[in-house]
Amino acid sequence: MKIVVLLKQVPDTADERKLDLDTGLQDRDASDLVIDEINERALELALRSKDADKSTEVVVLSMGPDSASTSVRKALSIGADAGVHVVDDGLAGADAARTAAVLAAALKNVGFDVVIAGNEATDGRGGVVPAMIAEHLSLPLLGNLVSAELSADGVRAERQVSAGTQSISAPLPALLTVTESFDEARFPNFKGILSAKKKKITVLTLADLDVPAPSGRTTMVNTTERPARAAGVKLTDDGTSATALVEFLASNRLI
């Protein structure tokens, strides 16, 4: 079985994240760049399949600037077998539709039985790219999962919805998206770190991929910096603070 894990390099959520107000794009120099945590969970799911069946091949696929190669390398140290990095100046600021079209083309190029992605990235938070890829490749989409079992016969998984839990399954090939219910990635061990350099990262550019020219793209109309945090509301207890607190919570839709 060949599993491709989609990996996005994002600003570390532990740091302050900034938008470049002129371009509307994230300021990549403002914070440390790391593998999006949800993608690490996707990788862990793939590696557990590999633990159970050593013949499983795990490939990580990332589209991003040159800096994304460090995240691909990190995934290799955690245990992925190989990496594919799509990098091209023509992709700077690519929107969700363009990203999905390019990743779909790259997936066709790489080949796979299963694709695992995070349900949404911590930076863009669009949460639509995996579904678009599934559409491009005519794959069953098993999205927003809370658990999954992979085997050569197919995928069995569970998805939490507001009314309850759905048990779903699909034959391979298929595309899964995982949520925070999945386990965090294992630590890379010393052998993994020391052998990551010997693993192959294939670099692909737009010229290597059969991607149709985009018919249009999302344009950023306006960007506004998040306002500085205002001081909170202070309630002084004059005997009515319980009522005031309930009103505050209700008016902010917190209860």
């Binding site: 990190k74 140290s77 630590f187 890379p188 061990n189 010393f190 052998k191 770190i193 020391l194 990551a196 350099k197």
Partner: protein
């Protein structure tokens, strides 16, 4: 020489994350309840920390002493006690990997490197500490077996370990009559004393180990008869830089806590960090730590290259780093005022843990004898 390679940086990052997530949140509780976290040690073993500088052939990580110094500093930032136990375990694994024959290495190293089996090192005795060559535990040959009798003291991990490397007397010829013998847990006649009540290092057990007609096959001997003292001393060179690195990590953690405290704590209308007298103290603390780090890296590099000055440099680095770590932890308590004395602030534990590093793996007084070329074991 003083820049980390990409691999070393990745290793430091991983160990720091492991220590912050798996050790630091539990460190105070383990100290208070004297809990030896076997599950966390196994997790460390899975990451390659059980046989850092044992060869890859039988499951070791095949890394250098310099790498080990980087690793132990990071572990000790979260918990000097656990870091120090892992150092002792590594010495045991390295001894078997370096001085064992192929059968012994294949039999013992894999489960030690993964830390499924833990190792203890039995040199010190109630009557033989700094003067290790005076040890009295006897191993008498009886056919294909050795029969061991005697008592070892201050043994880290005793009672929890699966393998004990025992330095025992096979001839009455001083340091030349000592032999290294591997004793597995569970053999008849092997027993343990009570867990010692200690100033620090509470998260690892320290017990006496008693041998009462303990029989092990001659094939459990490491190297030749009489080679044990040399093995013991070679092991201690690496043990010294590791223990120095454990002091460095503890001291570094205490220093960083102090900087944060002085920035936050206000007195006389301004944060304490604005008091130049205190800033001078911080500068001295940080300089002392960096001096220790530099010495440790140099000593480890010398060990890695097998240079003749390694023994001396390891002794110097051990002395400098264990004194630096303790001094910085003690200063950190002073600069925290009353809070430094409270267990919740984590500083008094660092000081208690680091105190023993000035005593073990050769006291800092013995380090001075080694530096000036008076190895007491050569009295024969």
């Amino acid at each position: 020489m003083f820049d980390l390679s990409d691999d070393q940086q990745a290793i430091v990052d991983m160990v720091a994350q492991f220590a912050a997530e798996e050790l630091a949140p539990h460190s105070a509780e383990w100290d208070e309840t004297k809990h030896f976290p076997l599950d966390v040690l196994r997790a460390a073993g899975e990451l390659g920390m059980g046989g850092i500088y044992a060869a890859e052939e039988h499951g070791g990580s095949g890394m250098s002493r310099t790498d080990a110094v980087l690793i132990f500093e990071q572990l000790a930032k979260a918990d000097p006690t656990i870091a120090a136990y892992i150092s002792i375990h590594n010495m045991v694994v390295w001894m078997i990997d370096s001085f064992g024959n192929d059968e012994q290495r294949a039999a013992w190293v894999p489960s030690l490197a993964s830390m499924e089996t833990l190792g203890s090192y039995c040199l010190t005795e109630p009557g033989a500490g700094s003067d290790a060559a005076a040890l009295a535990t006897k191993a008498v040959r009886d056919g294909d077996e050795y029969v061991l009798n005697g008592t070892k003291s201050f043994i880290s991990g005793a009672g929890a370990s699966g393998l004990y490397i025992v330095m025992a007397r096979t001839a009455d010829t001083g340091s030349k009559g000592i032999t290294a013998i591997v004793v597995p847990e569970g053999v008849p006649g092997l027993s343990f004393g009570a867990n010692e009540k200690k100033m620090g290092w509470n998260a690892q057990p320290t017990r006496q180990v008693m041998f009462d007609d303990v029989r092990v096959p001659v094939s459990n001997r490491l190297g030749e008869e009489g080679s044990g003292f040399g093995i013991a001393m070679k092991g201690l060179n690496g043990g010294r830089v590791n223990m120095g690195a454990c002091s460095l990590g503890g001291g570094q953690a205490a220093f960083e806590k102090t900087v944060t405290h002085l920035k936050e704590r206000e007195a006389f209308g301004t944060p304490l960090i604005n008091q130049q007298a205190l800033l001078f103290r911080l500068a001295d603390m940080e300089t002392e730590l960096e001096t220790a780090r530099t010495m440790l890296w140099r000593a480890a590099d010398s060990l890695d290259r097998g240079k003749p000055d390694a023994v001396k440099l390891c002794a110097m680095a051990k002395r400098v780093a264990t004194d630096a770590g303790f001094n910085v932890a003690n200063e950190a308590i002073q600069l925290h005022g009353g809070y430094g004395y409270l267990a919740d602030y984590g500083l008094e534990k660092i000081m208690r843990d680091l105190r023993v590093h000035q005593i073990l793996e050769g006291t800092n007084e013995i380090m001075r004898l080694i530096i000036e070329g008076w190895p007491p074991h050569e009295r024969g």
